[in-house]
Amino acid sequence: MAEQHQDTSGNRIVEDLTISTTTERDVVEARLAGAKPLGLWADTWRRLRRNKLAVVGMWIIIVFMTVGGVEVLAAAAGTYVAPYDPNQENYALSPQGLGSPPSLQHPFGTDYLGRDVLSRVLVAARISLLVGVIAVAIALAIGLVAGPISGYYGGWIDSVIMRTADVFFAFPFILFVLLLLTVLPAGFGSVFIAIGILGWATYARLNRGSVLSVKAMEFVEAARAQGASDLRVIFRHVLPNTMAPIYVAIAMGIGGAISTEAALAFLGLGVQPPDASWGRMIADNLTYLAAGSWWMLFFPSFFLVVTVFGFISFGNGLRDATDPKLKE
C-alpha cells in the first residue's frame, strides 16, 4: 500500500497511495486552524534543512557569491583581492614554460607564464558570478513577461510566443551564440548577454505551465470581479503564485550559465587572455596536462565543478522541498 522511494538526495520518502487526499487535507487543515502563524517559506525551509546535499550546496553558493561579489566590486574599483596580481607574469616561476607545482608561497602553483594560479582562480570567480547573474537576469526579464502573457491570454498570442520559444529550443546553441555575437558589441559581456537571450524560452515555457493552472483559480476571478486590469491580474496575482518552480530554475540556470561559459571558452569566446575566467583557464591550460603540470588544470576545474554542483544540488533540494506531494 505504501511506496518507498528516495528523493534526489537519497533520503527515504514514504508515499502512501491508498489514502484519499481529503483525509490528509482534513488533518492538515484542522491542524493549521488556530495554529501559530507560520511564514510562507517556513515549511519549505525546514524541509530544505533536512536535505544534507542541498545544505552543502547552499553553503557552496554562499561562499561563491561572497568571493565572486568581492572580486566584482574590486574589479569595478580597478583592483583585485588576491595574494598576487593575477596577471603578473614571472618567468622565473615557470621553468621550461610549464609553471611550478603548488608550494607554500603559491598554494595552487603557477601557470605556464608564472602567474599565481590561486590569484587567478579567485579573480576568475567574478566572471562566473557575472555570467550567472547577468544571463539569468536577462532570461528572466524576457521569460517572465512572455510566459505569463502567453499563458494568460492563450489564443494566437500564446501560439506565437510558444512557437518562437520552440525556435530558440531547436536552434543549435553555439550557432545562435555566434549569430548574436555578430550583432552585439565586442567584449565578454556580450557573451553573457547572448547566453541570457537564448535562455528565456526555458523560463517562459516553465512559467506558462504554472500560469495556466493558476489563472483558473478563484482568487484570480475574484481580482477580476474587483475590477483589476489584466496587467494587474497577471503581475500582481498570477505571477507571484507561479514563482516556486522558477526559483528552482534560477538555481539550475545559474549553474548552467557558468558551465556554458566554460564551454564557450574552448571556442575562444568570452573572456580573452590575459584575463582569467575558469573556463578560459581550463581551455588554456588543457594542453599542459600531458606535460605533467596538472595543477594548472585541476584547480580551475575543481572550482568550476564544485560551484556548478552547489547550484544544482541546491536547486534539486529546493524542488523537493517545494513539492507538496513528497511526504517526509
Binding site: 514514504v14 481529503t22 484542522a30 491542524r31
Partner: protein
C-alpha cells in the same frame, strides 16, 4: 451483551508530526452488529475518518500510529494482526467506500477489471468468472447496461455511477462490514437518494453492518440506527437514532441540531450557530475539546475529560454538566421547546 460483529474499545490514533502530536482519535469506543447502521457524525478535525481508516489499518505510518485500543472483528483483534492477515481482511471482511469517487477509482483501468481484481484477490475464482461476477455486481447496484459498462473506463461513468461502481467493488466479497466515508457529499441530491438506497439494499442482502461517516445530519436521520457524535477526536455522545435527535444530551449535539436550516421549518427562524472555530488538533486540552465553544463551560471542563454518563438504554454522554442542569439548559434553547422534556 452477546458477541458483537465489531467491538472497538478505547481506540486512539495519533499523528506524530514535526509540529507536534495530533491526537486525531482519542479513546473512542463503539460496537456494531449485523444489519445495523452506525452513523459517525462530526466535522473536520473530529477524527471520524481517521477512526474508520484505523479499523482497516490504512492510516499512513509514519506519521500516524494506532497507539492504543482493541479492534475486535468477530473476536480477532485487527490491531495486532500481521500485514498478511489484515490484507485478507481488507476488501473481504471490511470494505470501504470513499468520499470522492473521482479519485478513488483508477482512471486508467477498466471498471470491470478493478472489480474483478478485488474478487480474485480474495476469492478463488478465475479471471473469466471474476469478470462475469463484476458485471453482475454492477447490475446489482443499479447500473444499466452492466454488460457494456463493465468494459468501460471510469471517465465514461457519471459521478453517481462511479459511486455505485465503488459500492459494487466494496460488496464484491460479501463484506461483513461496509464503511461509507461521506458517501453522498460529492453527489447531487437526487443521486444521493439513489446511492443511499443502494447501500441500504446491499446491507439487507448481505446482512452487513454499515458504518456511515458523515457530517450531514439529514443523511444520518435517513439511514442510521444509532449515532456516535465525535468532536476533536473524542466521542462526546452516542445514542440510538431517535434518542440523539429527540433527546440530545451534549451541548455540541444541541449546537449541531440548532445550526441546521431545515426544509420543513414553518416560518423563518434564526439559526443558532456554535460560536468559535474548529479545534486546533495540535493544542487540544486534556479535558473536553469543546471548551471555548461551549456556552455552559465550567472550570473542570478544560482539564478533565468527563467520564461516561449513561443517560438511558444505549445512550451515553461525556459532559460535566449534571443531568438536571443539562435538561433545563436545553429547554431554554429556541429549537428544543417542542422536544421531550
Amino acid at each position: 451483551m452477546a458477541g458483537h460483529l465489531l467491538e472497538v474499545t478505547e481506540l486512539s490514533t495519533h499523528f506524530f508530526t514535526h509540529a507536534g502530536v495530533v491526537k486525531a482519535v482519542n479513546g473512542v469506543s463503539f460496537t456494531l452488529d449485523r444489519r445495523e447502521t452506525l452513523g459517525i457524525v462530526g466535522e473536520s478535525g473530529s477524527g471520524k475518518t481517521v477512526a474508520a481508516l484505523s479499523l482497516m489499518r490504512l492510516v499512513p505510518d509514519p506519521p500516524g500510529k494506532i497507539v492504543e485500543g482493541s479492534l475486535l472483528l468477530g473476536g480477532r483483534d485487527l490491531r495486532t494482526m500481521s500485514g498478511e492477515e489484515i490484507r485478507r481482511v481488507r476488501g473481504n471482511d471490511i470494505a470501504m467506500i470513499f468520499q470522492d469517487p473521482m479519485t478513488s477509482l483508477n482512471p486508467v483501468v477498466k471498471v470491470g477489471k478493478q472489480i474483478a481484481e478485488a474478487i480474485t484477490l480474495h476469492q478463488d475464482k478465475s479471471k473469466a468468472e471474476a469478470w462475469e461476477m463484476a458485471a453482475k455486481l454492477l447490475a446489482r447496484v443499479g447500473i444499466p447496461d452492466a454488460d457494456k459498462r463493465v468494459s468501460q473506463y471510469p471517465f465514461e461513468f457519471s459521478g453517481g455511477m462511479r459511486q455505485r461502481a465503488m459500492i459494487a467493488m466494496a460488496i464484491s466479497c460479501n463484506p461483513d462490514i461496509l464503511i461509507a466515508d461521506e458517501p453522498t457529499t460529492a453527489l447531487d441530491v437526487t443521486i444521493q437518494a439513489q446511492i443511499i438506497d443502494v447501500i441500504r439494499e446491499m446491507q439487507e442482502r448481505y446482512e452487513s453492518g454499515v458504518i456511515a461517516i458523515t457530517h450531514d445530519l439529514g443523511v444520518v436521520a435517513e439511514i442510521a440506527d444509532k449515532v456516535m457524535v465525535m468532536y476533536g477526536g473524542r466521542t462526546v455522545e452516542y445514542a440510538g437514532i431517535d434518542e440523539i435527535f429527540y433527546n440530545p444530551q451534549h451541548p455540541y449535539t444541541w449546537g449541531l441540531l440548532g445550526s441546521l436550516p431545515r426544509l420543513d421549518e414553518a416560518e423563518k427562524t434564526r439559526l443558532t450557530p456554535i460560536k468559535g472555530q474548529p479545534p486546533d488538533l495540535l493544542a487540544l486540552p486534556e479535558g473536553c475539546p469543546f471548551v471555548g465553544r461551549c456556552a455552559y463551560e465550567r472550570p473542570e471542563c478544560r482539564d478533565k475529560w468527563p467520564s461516561l454518563e449513561i443517560v438511558g438504554a444505549e445512550h451515553g454522554v461525556h459532559c460535566w454538566i449534571p443531568a438536571d442542569e443539562r435538561l433545563s439548559a436545553r429547554k431554554r434553547l429556541p429549537h428544543f421547546e417542542k422536544l421531550v422534556p
